[in-house]
């Protein structure tokens, strides 16, 4: 199967006054695995619904392999889809379910259809289940049948709407792996909707993060993790500490932030992507990941360290998470992740210095004042 490109240009969906999707533009390469990731109500499922053709966009265009399909009926789009609850036809056997798209197309001989169904069942390792009904299968098996049915007619694009949401954690992880393997083997272009960031990060070539109908950032999992371009993305992906301060001196090379009377920090990273400069006095929010900080005894942290007091130490297997309160801003608490190798380095109420990897910090302008 050869995947094809999928491009969304200025896609918009309006329900009365509300915009469920606003100006969504995405160019997805052939054979690429792209996730639409966002909290519920962010418009990701609406976007998928428009790609599948169940709802017409209020504005914008959808093209598959360069062909405009914006106004095409869903049955003429030739898009595979795995539904959230699988939507396997309960009155048809597994064989009839998988044969359904082939019969609808009416171009295949009966024997060819039978052969293809066997191939698909083999592909998802369910040979021997052909004569059962969907409700006689477990959740994971039904999920695989749904994938087999969606792939049976070799669609150039496969849509998946939270297909693993109904499965338990163990099975979900196994299925993630299976789906990813299958996708790579077949070279299918996949658009995968999920609200589970781990799922999106592990499976996708690129992830589109959506919030409130808007595309926030579109990039590889590494880019999103290392270079979030908005506070929303920084907060949404992985664990993140936020600390509010004022800009003292912000240039393309460095950012000097004052957190309190006594604590001024010079960060080697520029505000945001380096293109935005902030005037002195601008309220800034510094974001830094727990694993990009370390703890030292009070006084050993060097000049660019934040004095703090350990509030709690949590053992999470391979690492410790320390909750550290800033010495002169007790309302601000940071999570610091430290590799666990033997003894607990610090106890509750220990005075420490928090040493930041200045290059790993992200600086955003503050929109509303609150301490995370």
């Amino acid at each position: 199967m050869i995947g094809q490109t999928l491009s969304l240009a200025g896609l918009q969906k309006r329900y009365g006054e509300a915009l469920a999707v606003r100006e969504l533009t995405l160019d997805i390469a052939a054979g690429e695995f792209v996730s639409l990731l966002g909290p519920s109500g962010s418009g990701k499922t609406t976007a998928l619904t428009m790609i599948a053709g169940f709802e017409a966009p209020s504005a914008g265009r959808i093209a598959i392999g360069g062909r405009d399909v914006t106004l095409l009926a869903p049955n003429h789009r030739n898009i595979g889809m795995v539904f959230q609850k699988y939507a396997l036809f309960p009155h048809l056997t597994i064989r009839q379910n998988i044969a359904f798209p082939l019969r609808m197309r009416g171009r295949m001989q009966k024997t060819a259809i039978a052969r293809r169904v066997e191939e698909m069942l083999e592909l998802v390792q369910l040979s021997g289940y052909a004569e059962r009904y969907p409700n006689q299968l477990s959740g994971g098996q039904q999920q695989r049948v749904a994938v087999a049915r969606a792939l049976a007619f070799e669609p150039p694009v496969l849509l998946m709407d939270e297909p693993l949401g109904a499965l338990d954690k163990k099975l979900r992880e196994a299925m993630q792996f299976e789906i990813k393997q299958l996708q790579e083997r077949l070279g299918a272009t996949v658009v995968y909707v999920t609200h589970d960031q781990d799922e999106a990060l592990t499976m996708s070539d690129r992830v589109a993060i959506m919030s409130d109908g808007r595309l926030m950032q579109f990039g590889t999992p590494t880019e999103l993790y290392r270079q979030p371009n908005t506070e929303f993305v920084a907060d949404f992906i992985g664990r993140m500490n936020f600390l509010d301060g004022d800009c003292l001196d912000c240039t393309a090379e460095h950012t000097v932030v004052r957190f309190s009377e006594r604590t001024v920090l010079k960060l080697r990273s520029a505000a945001n992507d380096g293109t935005r400069k902030y005037a002195a006095g601008t309220a800034l929010r510094v974001a830094i990941r727990p694993e990009r900080m370390r703890l030292a005894k009070r006084g050993d942290g060097g000049a660019d360290a934040l004095p703090g007091v350990v509030d709690a130490a949590v053992f999470v297997g391979s690492t410790y998470i320390f909750l550290v309160r800033l010495a002169d801003r007790p309302e601000a608490s940071l999570q610091v992740q430290v590799a666990a190798d033997g003894v607990v380095p610090f106890q509750r109420d220990d005075a420490v210095d928090i040493v930041l990897d200045g290059a790993a910090a992200h600086v955003f302008p503050v929109t509303e004042r609150c301490v995370a």
């Binding site: 053709g53 169940f54 049955n75 036809f89 048809l92 359904f100 798209p101 006689q136």
Partner: protein, 296 residues
């Protein structure tokens, strides 16, 4: 899903029913006792008496009369035929209404539901007399036909089998619409979407997915309609003539005019047996479609 309105297919779910977990056997028994007592006293006992009455004199002579006199057999087969035609007509006319109701937005669906329910809440007598007014010799329909020049004189509309079928279909339609509506309503929209996505046009998606999945509702509605039609009394008595007599009317005549109670009891027993036979037949048909049974 549609269990509550498809009594014929409901027995397995009863056993699985979660309420069994909340009530102890004693409490359950205490709760159903009044109903069972009422059924015993008000239904089973009279039916038993009726059946006993039909064998009065210790002979099968009443039954012999039912099955040997052509008039009675004609009425019996005529009744089955009318019930069948009424059921098919209700299905053909009711399915689109149920489908529309299931697809409309809440407000509009309520409006259509009101149109279905209000006749149901109106007395059968009133509805039947309405048909008399419409169909009689110098009634509304005949007046209209003459005024527009379609016919010269008044047509014989009332007291015909056609009138009986028309009025009964109207009266029984809600019993067809509601189970189908409930089955269609319970159908997740994803099924039709999946069918469309997999290459089916709107009509093929309907035939391949919506229709088969609504069949439990269709069966439930058909059985309800058919069984009710078999024993219908008021409507055929009012709009039907001597040539279109149904079983219930015949039985009524035997009890009130001819006062031949044992023979009426024999006729009733035959009607009861025929009704039960058809219910079993429908059940069998439903359980034969294995895939359909696995739906709910």
């Amino acid at each position: 899903m549609t269990r509550s309105l498809t009594p014929l297919s409901s027995s397995p779910s009863f056993r699985r029913s979660s309420s069994a977990r909340f009530y102890s056997p004693t409490a359950s028994l205490a709760l159903v006792t009044p109903l069972i007592a009422a059924l015993l006293a008000g239904f089973l006992y009279p039916v038993a008496r009726l059946i006993a009455l039909s064998f009065s004199g210790g002979t099968l002579s009443h039954y012999r009369r039912v099955f040997t006199e052509p008039l009675h057999l004609d009425v019996l087969f005529g009744t089955i035929e009318v019930a069948f035609v009424v059921t098919v007509a209700s299905l053909l006319l009711g399915f689109p209404v149920a489908y529309l109701m299931a697809r409309l937005s809440k407000g509009l669906a309520m409006a259509v539901a009101a149109c279905v329910f209000i006749p149901l809440w109106t007395s059968v007598l009133v509805r039947s007399y309405a048909w008399v007014v419409l169909l009689q010799r110098n009634g509304i329909i005949n007046g209209l036909l003459i005024d527009t020049g379609v016919t010269e004189g008044p047509l014989k509309l009332i007291y015909t089998e056609g009138a009986v079928i028309l009025a009964m279909t109207h009266v029984l339609m809600p019993f067809m619409i509601l189970p189908i509506y409930s089955a269609l309503r319970a159908l997740p929209p994803d099924y039709v979407r999946a069918a469309r996505n997999l290459g089916a046009g709107p009509i093929r998606a309907f035939v391949a997915v919506t229709l088969p999945l609504s069949l439990p509702g269709v069966f439930a509605g058909s059985v309800m309609c058919f069984v009710l039609a078999l024993g219908f009394y008021i409507t055929p008595a009012l709009v039907g003539g001597p040539g279109s007599m149904l079983m219930a009317t015949l039985i009524g005549q035997q009890t009130t005019v001819l006062l031949d109670w044992p023979f009426a009891a024999a006729l009733s027993t035959v009607l009861l047996a025929v009704t039960l036979l058809f219910v079993l037949l429908f059940r069998r048909m439903l359980s034969l479609s294995k895939g359909l049974n696995s739906v709910y």
